[in-house]
């Protein structure tokens, strides 16, 4: 009996074009759109070598030697143009250099717009000037201390040891795609809704017919939800495959745990839809609206449109982050990707398990009734 119902529920779900669109096609389209817009932003954030003109007006050999060494190799800081002042100004006007450093009695920096490159140039020039000034002062006032100079320079800022917490690189863009994945899992709620509609006699004629049949409601519910879980999990896997292999989104190296998390997220999404459908009194439109609103708003608060929002919510309103299933899902995927330890991952998974149990339990509590007051 279980497999008989399961088989037909699979067919019914797979033929439901509207649900297929919202739970599979729409997330893929949205992911592609986000990738095209945010991927470009990411590229803009990568460091570009700074085109810099240097005009040697004072014979500062040390400085020239420094900028030349910083203009060599693949990871160089500058594209150096050692030139005259006139030519440097022409290059700056033409936009071919971001700034002109002129050595002399007093080192000067000339720029004609503000930006990241110009800020880096200013920081570099200021640092150099401060260091030269300090060394000159020491030489004048305490020449015997000059032998300590290498130690002084080497001890610049190293008071903290950099111990990476992960082999992975931190990446805010991932938050966007993980929250989109969370939204897709929550869209599984539509399948949960379909399954409850199919067994609640006061919601559909087909369900009334099911209730006339000699079969326990729990069996009806479990076989329907099992079919929904199989279909939705397959769709989520397809979506993840698209993210990973087409868009190149990195899910880290713990594939097994990612799969288990995906399964749990899918289950949470379906049970969420079942919960809303069985609990909310009102038409299908209202229930669909609630499902959409919670899924989309939850995903946005988890960083789908603005990654930093997730941290703002976590800092300013931690309870809101905890009661947002999308946030828990996003967090679980990010924890798996970024942290080598499991504390944060387990915290998120525990939250999801609690939600799933509450949603599923409340759903059964509502639908277990065998007689209706009205139909």
């Amino acid at each position: 009996m279980f497999f008989h119902i399961f088989k037909y529920r699979l067919k019914i779900i797979l033929h439901d074009k509207s649900t297929m669109f919202w739970t599979m096609i729409f997330p893929i389209l949205l992911a592609s759109f986000l990738y095209m817009s945010l991927g470009r932003l990411g590229a803009q954030e990568t460091f570009q070598t700074i085109d810099t003109a240097v005009v040697d007006s004072g014979g500062d050999e040390a400085f020239l030697s420094l900028v030349q060494s910083l203009s060599e190799g693949e990871e160089r800081l500058f594209n150096l143009h050692l030139t005259t002042k006139e030519e440097a100004l022409a290059l700056l006007s033409a936009g071919k250099v971001q700034g002109i450093i002129e050595t002399g009695e007093k080192m000067t920096l000339t720029i004609n717009e503000s930006g990241i490159e110009q800020s880096i140039l200013k920081t570099f020039v200021d640092n150099y000037a401060q260091t030269v000034s300090a060394v000159n002062r020491i030489a004048a006032q305490k020449p015997e201390s000059l032998k300590m100079l290498p130690i002084f320079l080497a001890g610049d800022t190293v008071f903290l040891e950099d111990r990476p917490i992960s082999r992975a690189e931190p990446d805010n863009l991932l938050i966007v795609f993980f929250s989109l994945l969370a939204m897709t899992c929550l869209f599984g709620g539509f399948l949960g809704m379909t399954e409850i509609n199919a067994i609640q006699a006061n919601l559909s004629g087909q369900a009334a017919r099911m209730n006339f049949a000699p079969i326990h409601k729990l069996k009806l519910l479990l076989s329907g939800l099992a079919a929904a879980l199989v279909v939705q999990f397959a769709k989520v896997l397809l979506f993840v495959a698209y993210l990973a292999f087409v868009l190149g989104i990195d899910f880290g190296t713990r594939t097994g745990l990612v799969l288990v998390t995906l399964l749990l997220c899918t289950l949470l999404g379906i049970s969420f839809g079942a919960f809303i459908t069985s609990l909310v009194k009102g038409g299908e439109g209202l229930k669909t609206g609630i499902l959409l609103a919670v899924s989309i708003a939850g995903a946005h608060l988890s960083g789908m449109s603005y990654a930093a929002l997730k941290y703002i919510i976590e800092t300013a309103a931690p309870p809101l982050a905890f009661i947002n299933p999308a946030s828990l899902m996003t967090d679980a995927f990010y924890a798996l990707y970024y942290f080598d330890t499991y504390g944060r991952f387990i915290e998120s998974v525990a939250g999801m398990v609690i939600f799933t149990v509450v949603f599923a339990g409340a759903t059964y509590f509502v639908i277990r009734r065998r007689k209706y007051v009205c139909l």
Binding site: F212, P214, K371
Partner: protein, 310 residues
Amino acid sequence: MIIKATNIVKRYGELLALDHLNLELKEGEILGLLGPNGSGKTTAINCILSLLGYEKGEISIFGKPMSPEAYDLKKEIGVVMQNVAVFNELTVVENIDYFCGLYVKDALKRKQLVYEAIDFVGLNEFKKFYPKKLSGGLLRRLNVACGIAHKPKLIILDEPTVALDPQSRNNILQGILELNRMGATVLYTSHYMEEVEQICSRIIILDKGRVIASGTKEALKDMISLGEKITVEVFGLSDGQLSALKSLPNIVSVVFTEKTLVVKSLKGKNNLENILALLKKQNISFGKIYSELPTLNDVFLEITGKELRD
């Protein structure tokens, strides 16, 4: 006794939907529940099937108390609901197999039953069709097939012919008679009195959740005073001639509109003869003439003071 419902009271808030309803269905019968829309027919069926809760009363089916968990009883019941309740995502054969599978586990036996049901409702040419491709009549037939494929001993049909063309309606009615001949006991609800008269061996008339009359169609018609309704095509009548007609024995009412004279009379052997004799005596020329026995609508009208179709 196949169904016994005793003193069922069901309320929807302030509305009393079933008012101490008593109903008995004997083996082999086709019992008709007749009543206008909102009279409580569907509510009665849903209570009998334990889908709806009720405030008071007892219901037993096949001699056992009916409850939502009475799976052994439910196995022997087939239900055809008023609204078509099939899945648009499944074909005709899949829909019937799905619902039949809730009653019959054995796949081979089920396959045979499904094809017999398809044959029975005449959907052989449409086995692979999806419901959206079926006409209203064919859809109703599919609805019937989904309810009866498992060959239940008791079949409950709730207005299965609503909004159907006469041909499709007749097909379904003939099918119900055939199921009854094959051994099924049938509870049939409708607000079409002609259908109920045509197929039911016994009739219960409901109004506002109460049983207002029950019995065979002949017994119901005997309950009322109206004997016959005589309609005559007449080309002109004076007030005096109308008064003369009204003074005839057994006459209840005389109505003349344009060229039609309608005379209602009490039961009596010579009503038609008396009217014809008066028309000849008064030299009133007339055309077509016909006499009708009372209908269930007349029964309902006389008991409740309103038309069944109101």
